[in-house]
Symmetry: C2
Subunit: 239 residues, 2 copies
């Protein structure tokens, strides 16, 4: 840390980055405990209070979990809980609807103007496009049209099994997901989707338009979703 002492950025933010680098480098493995905060503070040559502030930040960002009496653990991004963190669909009983999509073929193309805007890309940047179809009891009830920057996920077309959700996808490329913004509208099912979902044309669907960002704000995925929610609901938590 000492070489950064004269930086204008708060020390605890620099510590956060340094800790993230150690995680990305694989020095600490998911699910395992990292050293206690006193040792970490000594390692980095900072006061325990400052180290604590960095660790608390990473816990708020769902990178770490701290448990009194036990230790500080790196969250496993492959766990069901983490992989489904952006899934807000709930059944009639209020429990998460576990979704296991089927991923369609992955194509590569130049980004449209809208994709450039939503994903913060350079004009003509390359993107991968694919669809996901979600089933429940062998019936499709949701489908996604997904766009991701090719520069961030090189070689994705050979990695279809990794594209089931953006958390798993990011993790495979050494990235951690942060916040996301979802725009929700409703509209009638067109003929194609009515067929896929086995509902009458014109039946109301929930439509989603979501961008998921990396921890530092880099856009990772833009998704348009169409959902036939026969029972249950979408759960939004308001601050």
């Amino acid at each position: 840390m000492s070489e950064n002492r004269f930086s204008t950025r708060p020390l605890y933010l620099q510590l956060r980055e340094a800790l993230l680098e150690r995680i990305a480098a694989g020095q600490w493995k998911a699910g395992n405990a990292i050293p206690n905060e006193a040792d970490l503070a000594r390692d980095f040559g900072v006061s325990p209070g400052t180290m604590r502030k960095a660790l608390d930040l990473l816990e708020a960002q769902r990178v770490l979990t701290r448990r009194q009496g036990r230790g500080t653990f790196i969250n496993d991004q492959n766990s069901a809980e983490m992989a489904q963190r952006y899934n807000k669909l709930r059944g009639p009983d209020g429990r998460p609807v576990v979704v296991e999509p089927e991923v369609g073929p992955i194509g590569e193309a130049a980004a449209t103007e809208q994709e450039v805007r939503r994903l913060g890309l350079e004009p003509q940047a390359r993107v991968y496009r694919f669809t996901r179809t979600y089933f429940r009891e062998h019936r499709a009830f949701m489908m996604d049209e997904v766009v991701v920057p090719a520069a961030i996920f090189p070689g994705l077309e050979k990695q279809r099994e990794v594209a089931t959700d953006v958390v798993t996808l990011a993790q495979r490329y050494g990235l951690l997901t942060g916040s996301a913004a979802e725009r929700i509208t409703t509209g009638p099912a067109d003929a194609i989707r009515a067929g896929i979902f086995n509902v009458a044309p014109g039946a109301p669907l929930l439509n989603f338009d979501r961008v998921v960002f990396e921890l530092n704000g880099l856009p990772l995925e833009w998704r348009l979703g169409y959902c036939h929610l026969s029972s249950g609901y979408y759960l939004a938590a308001l601050g």
Copy 2:
């Protein structure tokens, strides 16, 4: 604070309560600055770091706003920004849709079983019920069916002008709103609502089911909303 020193509750949480009491008592007025954190710490006989933790908590809960170099201010719950804090409707341009509802007559009755469950009431508890209708360019586009516990808002039937939103309502009764949970579904407009919104029967509506809680978790309002969103969207922020 000293009489509470032996309580098992963390000191900074007790400080938070004490500060809230001073605000509720009107000792400090909305929009005004409160004493600086060093003075407050001396007043309450605690260390500055502990007082800071309490103040930071209240800022996160939108009770205070802290500004470096200026001071710590009590948020004005009557401000447009605060009153609309649970309104997640956005126009095509992404800006909040300002809504000014018309409040219908307020009736009193015994709570239904469902109302008892959603609002955490005793069986047979009294509730107030009323509707809100939202207009844009002289056309209705949303309506709410609202239920609130009569015990929390006594005399509300004579206070219709205060029931435009739950933040204003709570403020008038000396309460501060905290978190809320909104369940979103979609469904076809029935004949009545199709008429009110001037759309075809069966047209897709966004349906909301929201409970807003007081800062300490007490349920304040249960609302069923029906919305014809011709343009724009509902914005959900995902952690």
